[in-house]
Symmetry: C2
Subunit: 127 residues, 2 copies
Amino acid sequence: MKISEVSEKYNLSVDTLRYYEKAGLLPNVQKNAGGIRDYSENDCNWVEFIKCMRGAGLPVAVLKRYIELFQQGEQTLGERKQILIDERQKLIEKRDTIQATINRLDFKINVYEQTIVKREKELLQGK
Amino acid sequence: MKISEVSEKYNLSVDTLRYYEKAGLLPNVQKNAGGIRDYSENDCNWVEFIKCMRGAGLPVAVLKRYIELFQQGEQTLGERKQILIDERQKLIEKRDTIQATINRLDFKINVYEQTIVKREKELLQGK
DNA sequence: TCTTGACCTGAAGTTCGCTCCAAGTTGTAT
DNA sequence: ATACAACTTGGAGCGAACTTCAGGTCAAGA
């Protein structure tokens, strides 16, 4: 698969794909004789994984470390699991922070709604 | 209230507080004859609001716009309400993205756990 | 064969949100 | 009066995650 196809498939720019590769997130992408990338199905699965994790805000450096460990084989299973547990915990905190802010916005939006309705009524009564 | 006290109260650095002010998020902080800031209770409430919104990831530029409109009085009620509705919607999407990633991590962590337990058993059996 | 578009590289540039620095002023305790 | 900590400003610097650029190579169609 060419880089433009992967770009289209996952809605990531070709620049971002090359950037991820340079950053160590896609260490296995093969190149043909002419130096042109040919993404395997496995590469694509990694792209999809990285896109998902980045979408939730996991830092590139953390993903790089995870992939590094993955490359090293089974003796890193524990460390990899711990990374995922740590990041999961951070996401839970982030989600809860966001939820609290949504609740606050809900309240504020309601106050605005009521105020606006009140102002409209006053206007109709020619106050 | 002095800047150091506000900094302590809301756990924001004095640099951040001055940055927010320069960025237009705290337009009303008064200064005494010597040029030293004196935060009112109202200023503090804005600091708290900004801290909360920034904590959820609302951009400084959006908050600046919101505060600008607030300064302009009642004729901007509708526009202000719309900003909050838009940002609320983005937060909901962000929260859902994060939740989906948490679920994915939960699954992956379980797979790791099972794999690790399996490897340990094999080790005990001298495989 | 020629052109054109997609690909390549390394490096520089951009945006965001702070964070730090230099150099100077103010307020307070002794 | 003197020290010294806390305050002030404008501007530079930083880390993260891209994004763009310059200059070149490659592959396919007319």
